[in-house]
Amino acid sequence: MKEPKELNIHYYAVLREKAGKTEEDIESFASTPLELYKDLAGKYGFPLDARSIRVSINEEFQSMDTALCSGDCVIFIPPVAGG
């Protein structure tokens, strides 16, 4: 039987404002960051389409199709605007 993964999520910029928090620990059945983002976007009303989002897992850029593992630290990266 499929078990939920324990994930640590941090939020930045517009996602932080919409989620109303900087981070949270959640249990999720999402198998990839793409699935996870869609779940959270539905929950918090994120304004950005998943196609414009990148993801960092455990402080490295990864594909939105990477398999998530329990214990992962997941950070969604909205379009950047440094400099």
Binding site: H10, Y12, A13, V14, R16, E17, P47, L48, S52, S56, E59, E60, F61, I75, I77, P78, P79, V80, A81, G82, G83
Partner: protein, 141 residues
Amino acid sequence: MFRISDVPIDADLLSKELINSRAGAFVCFEGRVRNHNDGCEVVSLKYEVYEGLAVKEGGRIIEEAKEKYDVLEVVGVHRQGHLEIGDIAVWVGVIAEHRGSAFEACRFVIDEIKHRLPVWKKEHYMHKESKWVNCSENHGH
């Protein structure tokens, strides 16, 4: 060397990290907060940085510049927090024996920083609501 700074960037101090008697050329770039963007009057702004990844990615950009161009040293710093008009948002300095590679490496580093660093900018305007740049619902449409 790449760093994220919570305090105002001191360009003079940073340039002192780039001293080498083989260097014939020093090129630096400062990105400063402008009083306008996309036709809107900007009064101040905030940079939010995912610091752990930004430091790693900035370090990678600098290593790439050193491999790609014939330079002696490269330093980069990005601010986070609240900034006023005229404040330095990002600083890149390069020393090299000759000017060509110093200019090219400096340009490469700032271009890559703008594209790759996990940094977000919220602009506060005179006449309309604050906004996260590049993060509107219609971005890219």
